[in-house]
């Protein structure tokens, strides 16, 4: 069965709302097939796989177990014809951290850990302090992918670097290799509700996180597949994050849309640690003409450095 028809099959059985057991020659809805269920007499009309309307006794209906949105092989390949990128405008960031909250909430990240970090930065004594949110850089030369011994972290055609927590052996070499410190580890059994923990795992949702494996920002490919923006982008009240496709040459923060190349050219965009040759997919716009003054209410930058 090819992948397409398999997906169609899954889709249509979702519509039908029943699990089909047995083959076409037998009637799968007779009492012998499901011996412990008595017919209730109440009939429900359903659309069969062949597109016919059939009637089924209500007692034989059971919910389809939740299925992953797509298959592992498809998730590993990525979305065809796309090359995703992010632009982070430092002149708009005042460390509201809504990005972080949304990300943590949607990915059910372990309390205390963060995939998005908002650093108070000051490069030298007399240079200006600024806020620098970091996600995974989704490098085009990803050091983490290079060192992974089992292909648990991989680079997709659309530029996204993902983790397959079903394959990860937890050696943490990728964490040592990543110069951006963007990876976290599930040191203990994730503290999540049973409902979330029971969800089928998908590399694209990165949910549920699994004990003994590595996690990190995934650019929310599940959202992107549905045509939505990553959670951090839509959560930011100041429009700091822009997400888009380099091949389309467009990035958007939800309310404003720019030509990616022009935005980078006009605002002198740059990437972090260019000298390492990692070729990140995340671009930064320098903190000039800022919307907000830099105020570090929680702790001063100096203290942060000492710690």
């Amino acid at each position: 069965m090819s992948q397409n028809t398999r997906r169609d099959f899954i889709a249509s059985s979702l519509v039908a709302g029943v699990t089909l057991a047995g083959c076409a020659t037998k009637n799968p809805f007779t009492a012998e097939e499901i011996p412990d269920v008595k017919p209730s007499g109440e009939m429900v009309k359903l659309l069969s796989v062949d597109g016919e309307i059939i009637e089924v006794d209500k007692a034989f209906l059971k919910p389809v177990p939740a299925l992953p949105a797509s298959m592992n092989t498809i998730e590993r390949e990525g979305i065809a014809g796309k090359k995703f990128a992010m632009v982070i405008d430092l002149s708009r960031c005042k460390s509201v951290k809504k990005c972080q909250t949304a990300c943590n909430h949607m990915h059910h990240i372990h309390p205390g850990q963060n995939w998005i970090k908002v650093y108070p930065m000051q490069d030298a004594e007399h240079t200006a302090p600024y806020w620098q949110p970091t996600t995974c850089m989704h490098c085009d030369e990803p050091p983490c992918v290079k060192v992974c011994p089992v292909d648990a972290t991989f680079k997709r055609k659309d530029g996204i670097v993902l983790i397959d927590s079903d394959r990860c052996i937890g050696c943490r070499f990728c964490m040592a290799a990543c110069p951006y410190s963007s990876r976290v580890f599930n040191w203990e059994e994730p503290k999540i509700e049973k409902e979330i923990a029971d969800k089928p795992y998908s590399c694209e949702t990165s949910v549920p996180q699994k004990v003994g494996t590595v996690g990190k920002c995934d650019f929310c490919p599940d959202m992107v597949r549905q045509g939505n923006l990553p959670h951090c982008v839509s959560a930011c009240p100041n429009g700091v994050f822009f997400f888009g496709d380099i091949l389309e040459d467009t990035v958007t923060n939800g309310s404003e849309t720019f030509r990616f190349s022009e935005l980078i050219k006009d605002k002198a965009g740059y990437r972090l640690m260019e000298d390492l040759g990692t070729k990140p997919s995340v671009y930064y716009l320098p903190p000039v003409n800022r919307n907000f003054p830099f105020e570090n209410k929680v702790e001063s930058v100096v203290e942060e450095k000492k710690a």
Binding site: C148, R167, I169, R172, A177, P179, F185, E188, E304
Partner: protein, 438 residues
């Protein structure tokens, strides 16, 4: 050589039952090994949460213990291969000690790396989904190869001794007799057999040198293939190998002293052996010191921003006490002791050996963890305990348990097999006497 002398050598070198001391030693080791197993049980149950490792210090004493084991196992190749191929005769009584250290250390290196894994039950993924571009896969390949070559280098020279031991049926008891016969009953001391094993040992002795260099070079690449300050060094392979020979030679001196005093082997492991091994240790310590100068002082001369915090942390900061302790105990003090002829007598050499081994263990810790605590971007948005790494009792118990396990393997080996090659000693004594006659 007359039969009497030969019998004396055999009687001296046959493995002996544990005495009172031996039993206490074994019980202590078993206790620590059991404690390690218990702690690992807790780790399996609760996850790596029981360790002090967190997102920044994501590798801790398991990995440094792994590096230590790989390092100390290199001595097998130094004593059996390098000295053998350069026709150094005095090292013959030390070969088996060196080789069993190599085998047991490399075994526990493999075990401790599994202990460090978040999902040890997925170990098979290394074979199912292994990707050749990852240095971890290189390490798996070369360490496995090294293990088997070392095992063969232990086994082949053992064959003539097995024949001798099979002759002592009553002394052996039923169980050991069966083991000896299983391992060596086919050995008949024929010329053809000697010819084959000599050839095989020579080939293995040559083959093990590049493999030995590979295991520790690849282990150094686990660090040097990353960008981090303190690891991003082209010096790392040579730095690791020189340090490995040093700790291995130190380990052999310690083992020599213990076997010599415990089994009364003064005639076989002589003062001269300590004198020579002492000189070897000085040479290796100086070599390691040279690489340390390169590794620390050259970056310190430039003080690049990313390196600065890391280096200052070692020289004067958080890790300074361990750093200077490791530098002095693994290099300066042993060099100072062993430069003097009196310092190369058995007891002072033994103390120097212990200093080298202990200092080297902490040196491995300094290679692994401080670098991780000095990332490019400052440590931020993490709980306060993520900023430091102080190993938990579970980690100490597991690391200690693995060391105890390695010592147990060596101890039981010496209980079952002659720790000094009997057959080779007889041959050497014969040839020495022949030289005297001429």
């Amino acid at each position: 050589m007359d039969k009497l002398k030969e019998d004396k050598i055999i009687a001296d070198l046959l493995p002996q039952e544990f005495g009172k001391q031996g039993r206490i030693w074994v019980i202590c080791l078993l206790f620590f090994a059991a404690l390690g197993v218990f702690a690992y049980g807790r780790q399996l149950y609760y996850g790596l949460e029981v360790t002090a490792m967190r997102d920044y210090a994501s590798w801790g004493i398991y990995i440094s213990n792994f590096v230590f084991f790989v390092a100390i196992s290199l001595v097998g190749s130094l004593i059996t291969a390098v000295l053998r191929l350069t026709n150094v005769k005095w090292s013959t009584p030390l070969t088996r000690i060196a080789e069993i250290i190599a085998v047991s250390a490399i075994t526990f290196a493999s075990l401790i790396i599994i202990v460090d894994m978040g999902r040890p039950e997925r170990f098979y993924n290394l074979f199912l989904h292994g990707r050749l571009q990852s240095p971890i896969i290189w390490d798996v390949i070369v360490i496995t190869t090294y293990f088997f070559i070392s095992l063969l280098l232990l086994y082949f020279p053992l064959l003539p001794d097995l024949k001798i031991m099979i002759g002592f049926k009553e002394r052996n008891g039923k169980w050991l007799q069966k083991l000896y016969e299983f391992l060596g009953s086919f050995w008949k001391n024929t010329k053809a057999q000697f010819k084959i094993t000599d050839k095989a040992i020579n080939i293995l002795a040559i083959a093990i040198i590049p493999v030995a260099f590979s295991i520790h070079t690849v282990t150094s690449w686990l660090f040097a293939t990353t960008y981090r300050p303190g690891w991003d060094s082209t010096n790392f392979g040579a730095y690791f190998i020189s340090g490995a020979f040093l700790v291995g030679a130190g380990g052999v001196v310690v083992a020599m002293y213990i076997f010599r005093t415990h089994y009364k082997l003064e005639k076989y492991i002589t003062n001269d052996h300590f004198d020579r091994m002492g000189k070897v240790l000085v040479l290796l310590a100086l070599l390691y010191l040279y690489f340390n100068f390169n590794e620390f002082l050259v970056p310190a001369f430039k003080m690049k921003k990313s390196e600065e915090e890391h280096l200052l942390g070692l020289f004067t900061g958080e890790f300074a006490p361990i750093f200077w302790f490791a530098i002095f105990t693994s290099m300066f003090i042993p060099i100072f002791i062993l430069l003097f002829k009196k310092g190369r007598r058995p007891l002072p050499a033994f103390i120097a050996g212990i200093l080298v081994v202990v200092g080297s263990w902490f040196k491995r810790f300094l290679i692994v963890t401080p670098t991780l605590l000095h990332p490019f971007l400052p440590m931020h948005d993490v709980p306060a305990n993520y900023h430091h790494y102080i190993p938990t009792w579970e980690e100490w118990a597991i690391a200690g348990g693995s060391l105890a396990g390695a010592l147990l393997v060596i101890t039981f080996f010496a209980r079952i097999f002659p720790i000094i090659p009997i057959h080779e000693t007889i041959i050497e004594t014969e040839s020495l006497e022949n030289e005297k006659h001429f």
